[in-house]
């Protein structure tokens, strides 16, 4: 890649109250150019009211090699789910 031409991940918030959602990525030499490119590429039809750009290199992810170990506990700790607990039928609103 040419010197200084960085990749940025783009996140867009469609309306207030809604979480920012990943839209894709853009190139840009600096953050101002990245924001302008993100607007031009991803917001030509009212897709958002706010956007974030984050240098792609700053995103940290779990290596796929380790994914099983990271996410497995969700499966076997069933006591974290409300359906694990027995409540007498006559008790309401719980």
């Amino acid at each position: 890649m040419e010197t200084g031409d960085n990749i940025w991940e783009v996140f867009i918030q469609k309306k207030p109250g809604i979480a920012f959602k990943h839209a894709g990525s853009v190139h840009g030499y600096d953050k101002k150019m990245a924001v302008q490119n993100a607007r031009d590429a991803y917001c030509r039809r009212g897709e958002g009211r706010e956007l974030w750009v984050v240098p792609s290199a700053s995103i940290v992810s779990v290596p796929m090699e380790d994914a099983d170990a990271y996410f497995d506990p969700q499966e076997d700790k069933i006591y974290r789910h409300p359906t694990f607990y027995q409540i007498p039928a006559e008790v309401k609103n719980i």
Partner: protein, 311 residues
């Protein structure tokens, strides 16, 4: 390795998506890079035949519309280069391959745009064919490619409708305008049909692509779908398809057509179309002429860029 391959096959089997960090066979990655690169280059090179009419558009309204459409095509190219970048190939590498003649783009963009109705025919027929293909690719197995296709399809429907609107104006206009409309259909009909690629029996890459669900429907199936949608639209305009054998088969409900001239297709793909040299020269020259802008942007960023998040 076997564990990874099994996980990959299970995702494909269940119609789930493969994401950039998932293990994938080398051939899967290679096929995707080739397909996405060709798709991205087509979007970008496709701006040239349309740009040819930008300064000669017949009204301010048509100029605004054409400019917006061309901007969309540039955007589509950018989404697709981003998809390729998730597969560890940089945009710069892809563009170098294009300039060196190692990467392809759709042969239809090597034809010239000779009259204003060509701009209508491109939006209606060329983008129409692209939509049929891209709607099918929304279900492709590679997540970033699939998401780009969803976005692109949303934007393409405007392209096709603006093209058809131009065709209506031309077909209902003066005798000369009607002739231009028919001339545009005559020249773009077969190139649009060939956008779907070779027949299934001759398509070198189809086998694995279907197995891995990169492609979801075959070239011939999609081509027929496009013909069946489009012939009634040609008739609505009072124009004719440049194919004496194009007629509705009452039994199948589909339109039959003459054999396609694959020699022409291969000639154009291999560099001998009317505009191949112009298209690539233009892209190379612009890249070269803009070099100082990139250098200035890099120098400016180096001097001014700070880590805080305000602009």
């Amino acid at each position: 390795m076997e564990k990874h391959e099994a996980a990959f096959n299970a995702l494909i089997e269940q119609d789930l998506k493969i994401e950039p960090h998932d293990w994938m066979p080398d051939e899967y990655r290679k096929h995707l890079v080739r397909q996405v690169s060709q798709h991205a280059h087509s979007e970008v090179i496709g701006m040239q035949p349309e740009g040819n009419w930008l300064l000669r558009a017949p009204s301010l309204r048509s100029k605004q519309v054409l400019l917006a459409k061309i901007q969309d095509e540039g955007g589509h190219g950018l989404y697709l280069y981003s998809v390729a970048e998730t597969l560890n190939v940089s945009r710069e590498e892809l563009i170098t391959q294009l300039h060196e003649g190692k990467a392809r783009y759709s042969s239809v963009f090597n034809y010239p745009t000779l009259n204003w109705a060509d701009i209508g025919a491109i939006g209606w027929l060329v983008d129409g064919a692209a939509i049929v293909n891209q709607v099918s690719l929304q279900k492709t197995s590679y997540g970033p490619y699939s998401r780009a296709m969803v976005r692109i399809c949303m934007e393409e429907s405007f392209h096709q409708r603006q093209g058809f609107e131009i065709m209506i104006h031309m077909a209902r206009g003066t005798k000369e305008q009607r002739e231009m409309a028919q001339d545009a259909v005559n020249r773009f009909w077969f190139p649009a049909l060939m956008m779907f690629g070779p027949h299934d029996t001759d398509s070198a890459h189809t086998g694995n692509a279907m197995k891995w669900k990169i492609k979801r429907e075959s070239n011939d199936y999609l081509r027929q779908k496009f013909i069946d949608k489009t012939v009634p639209q040609v008739e609505f305009l009072g124009l004719t398809v440049p194919d004496p054998n194009c007629r509705l088969n009452e039994t199948t409900g589909s339109y039959e057509h003459s054999p396609l001239d694959w020699n022409e297709f291969h000639d154009v793909i291999n560099g001998y179309g009317p505009c191949n040299t112009d298209r690539l020269d233009h892209h190379r020259n612009v890249q070269q002429e803009n070099r100082w802008v990139r250098e200035a942007a890099a120098a400016y960023a180096q001097k001014t860029e700070t880590v805080n998040s305000s602009l």
